[in-house]
């Protein structure tokens, strides 16, 4: 497969393994890959097998499904079950456990009209084809999926659609990174050693590398923006190790084939035109994070499902046994959780990290759990 295999080449990987091994010193290195896309690549290609034992990867909260709080899924379920709307959603979302033992998938089995779409545009097309139905798009995701939602809302307005609206749950990457860096575990106690970040791939194509400069300067943490292929990840780890060794804290860009310093200005303008900052938003695992999410601007209020339908938001705590919160902050690892692999499996996820293949728990369970059996983890 051209343009893909080149980034999964085993020989190049071996060379990088040698380079990293040569570069590391007699100390521990802990890097957080923010994005679920990186988590998935690391697990699927067995990247950790190629790293020295003193390089530890912490799986960050950059999995859109994982950080979606129960209360938001409850809202989507209420829209479909109580308000009779057709809810269009990305497929990963349908299995997220919600209140009352429900999920969107279970609500569908109870008669809710829930449609899985590959593209946000499918939701709008569905609304156009079914003027008799109220269609709501369950918009989730980081900066990558936000511009398409903005386009939808603008198109909906241009078309004068009366039966289409959006349940906006778009969240912002820099706020989440700041939240992790400000957490007491990192800032005060140092219980989560964090030597640097692998910066997002697709998100950075939109927002550029500039927003991370603050973290490098203010918190003295190196950031290397990397693509989602396993060689990208290896190269980024090598660059992070070098920065740590040389006591540098800079934003470096491994993913120059797609990311610029300023990012995609057209997409940024679209987003700014349709959305504005929410004062605060609940993240699963991180709690209430100020100015960390977007809501639809007043000019487009008719497309805001939260205004069109009487929906209240109710925060719902996670199951007590579930450690998703600590895992998303890097405080715990999947196998530290008592329910991991026992009552919580990809078939019956209790926590959101077990739902999406990008979630830390699902990725480890699906691809790497043999490691816990053969090697006693440090």
């Amino acid at each position: 497969m051209k343009y893909v295999d080149e980034f999964r080449d085993g020989t190049l990987a071996k060379n990088l393994t040698v380079s990293i091994a040569r570069e590391v010193r007699d100390r521990d290195y802990s890097f957080m890959e923010f994005c679920g896309g990186h988590t998935h690549a690391i697990s699927r290609y067995g990247v950790t097998d190629l790293l020295p034992n003193n390089v530890r990867m912490i799986h960050g909260p950059g999995c859109p499904v994982c950080v979606l709080p129960i209360g938001r899924v409850d809202m989507a379920i209420a829209l479909a079950l109580e308000h009779g709307v057709t809810l269009c959603t990305y497929a990963d979302t349908v299995r997220v456990p919600a209140s009352n033992n429900l999920s969107l998938l279970k609500a569908k089995a109870r008669g809710a009209d829930i449609r899985m779409v590959y593209s946000a545009a499918d939701a709008l097309a569905f609304a156009q084809q079914h003027p008799e139905k109220q269609v709501v798009f369950f918009a989730i995701g980081f900066e990558t999926t936000t511009p398409p939602t903005a386009v939808l809302i603008k198109q909906g307005k241009a078309l004068g659609l009366q039966n289409f609206s959006v349940l906006c749950c778009h969240v912002l990457t820099p706020s989440a990174i700041a939240n992790i860096l400000e957490s007491p575990e990192v800032r005060q106690y140092g219980t989560v050693p964090l030597d640097g970040f692998i910066g997002p791939a697709h998100v950075s194509t939109v927002i550029g590398s500039r927003p991370y400069e603050f973290f490098a300067e203010e918190y003295r943490k190196p950031v290397v923006i990397a693509g989602f292929e396993p060689l990208d990840v290896m190269q980024a780890i090598l660059m992070l190790v070098r920065q740590v060794n040389e006591d540098r804290a800079e934003v470096e860009n491994e993913f120059t084939r797609a990311v610029t310093r300023d990012g995609n200005l057209k997409a940024q303008n679209l987003v700014a035109e349709v959305f504005e900052l929410r004062r605060e938003f609940e993240w699963r695992g991180l709690g209430l994070v100020p100015y960390s999410a977007l809501k639809i601007r007043r000019e487009y209020a008719e497309f805001d499902a939260e205004l069109r339908f009487p929906l209240g938001y109710r925060a719902v705590p996670d199951n007590k046994a579930c450690e998703c919160g600590a895992i998303l902050r890097g405080v715990k690892r999947p196998w530290d959780c008592k329910v991991f692999g026992t009552v919580c499996t990809p078939e019956n996820p209790m926590g959101s990290c077990m739902v999406s293949s990008e979630g830390a728990c699902a990725a480890h369970y699906t691809y790497g759990r043999f490691k816990n059996i053969e090697v006693v983890s440090a």
């Binding site: 497969m1 067995g46 190629l50 060689l231 369970y365 043999f370």
Partner: protein, 355 residues
């Protein structure tokens, strides 16, 4: 309601022949009356015609074959009904033949049950029935009995087909999912994921076109060639829904062993690999309808490989892994990248309505 496609035995006083070109299935086609008898005679019985069907009774009277019998059944709900490389008709014949054949059996007879949706075009139904007849003829099996029911519009999806197959196993053949042994090698008969991706590419909502063709095929010829080679084959399976990953996990659990695949050895058509990449799917979990998984004694792996490659359905056969001891019964893989990972059971639903 009559259970028989009793060709030749029904009344000859129809008002007019079925209008296959413009006609549609209506509720009377499942009512047990004249319309149903006519549909059966002119469409099903005409296409499937054989001595057993011509008996015209509620059940087919079959001669007892020599050897142990194998029986398997398979329901088919694929959407779309017609896809590159096949349709629900030939798929419903191949699917059940393969379930019988992987037991080491020679398939002999099939039954066919149809659930038709009111409003379904008779021309499409005829196309499907002819495709079944053709597939059965090529495979040398007879469709000896069947049934037709009609459901109201909106209660079905065109047509659902259930087929049941009976075959006979020679005395010296002993294949079972619990016979994989440490040291065995794992082979596949060709490229993985073709059927699932051919279907997926047809789904209108995805809006991409491809030249991927379903691999739907009857495997008993390939299996006969393999068994005739004298290789000590322990397990055969056709990796349909859930793909190779699911099939190997089933065998590993049944046999109480672990497995190690070599990612580089897996035959995957580049178009399928690209489409999977595009949709975020893993070809190891995508359905096949004409592929064989073979677990064979380590010493006989090369012989089995040569035998398969000599058959038209096995030209791309490959040795893809080994069976080893593992109390956890993990299926693992050394990745082309140089790492190692689990190839787990499929969780949730990757591709709905694939067969």
């Amino acid at each position: 309601m009559s259970d028989v496609m009793n060709g030749g035995k029904v009344r000859k006083d129809y008002v007019r022949a079925l209008d296959i070109k413009h006609g549609r299935v209506d509720m009377s086609h499942g009512s047990g009356g004249r319309a149903m008898a006519q549909l059966i005679e002119e469409l099903f019985a005409a296409a499937f015609d054989n001595d057993y069907l011509r008996q015209g009774n509620d059940g087919a009277l079959l001669p007892p074959p020599d050897g142990r019998l194998v029986m398997a059944t398979d329901c088919h709900v694929v959407s779309p009904l017609f896809f590159p490389g096949g349709d629900i008709g030939c798929l419903s014949v191949h699917g059940t033949i393969n379930d019988v054949a992987v037991m080491g059996a020679t398939p002999l007879w099939l039954s066919a049950g149809f659930i038709l949706e009111e409003g379904f075009p008779l021309a499409d139904l005829q196309r499907i029935v002819m495709s079944m007849a053709q597939a059965a003829k090529e495979a040398g099996v007879h469709i000896v009995t069947g049934d037709t029911k009609v459901v109201e519009q909106g209660k079905g999806d065109g047509v659902f087909i259930t087929t049941t197959g009976v075959g006979v196993v020679p005395d010296n053949v002993h294949l079972s999912g619990d016979r994989a042994r440490v040291g065995d090698r794992i082979l596949v008969s060709g490229t993985l994921g073709d059927h699932g991706m051919a279907i997926m590419a047809q789904r209108e909502s995805l809006g991409f076109s491809s030249a991927i063709v379903s691999d739907t095929a009857a495997l008993h010829g390939l299996i006969a060639t393999l068994l005739d080679s004298g290789a000590d084959v322990h397990v055969l399976r056709d990796p349909t829904r859930g793909g190779l990953a699911t099939t190997l996990n089933e065998i590993a659990a049944q046999s109480g062993v672990g497995m190690m695949l070599n990612e580089r050895a897996l035959p995957i058509n580049p178009e399928v690999a690209s489409a999977c990449e595009f949709l975020g799917l893993d070809p190891l979990y995508v359905a096949n309808e004409g592929k064989l998984v073979v677990i064979v004694a380590g010493a006989d792996a090369e012989r089995a490989l040569a035998a398969m490659r000599a058959h038209p359905l096995g030209t791309a056969a490959a040795i893809v892994g080994t069976v080893h001891e593992d109390d956890h019964h993990f299926v693992q893989m050394t990745t082309g990248f140089g790492g190692r990972r689990i190839v787990d059971w499929l969780s949730g639903e990757q591709l709905p309505r694939i067969c």
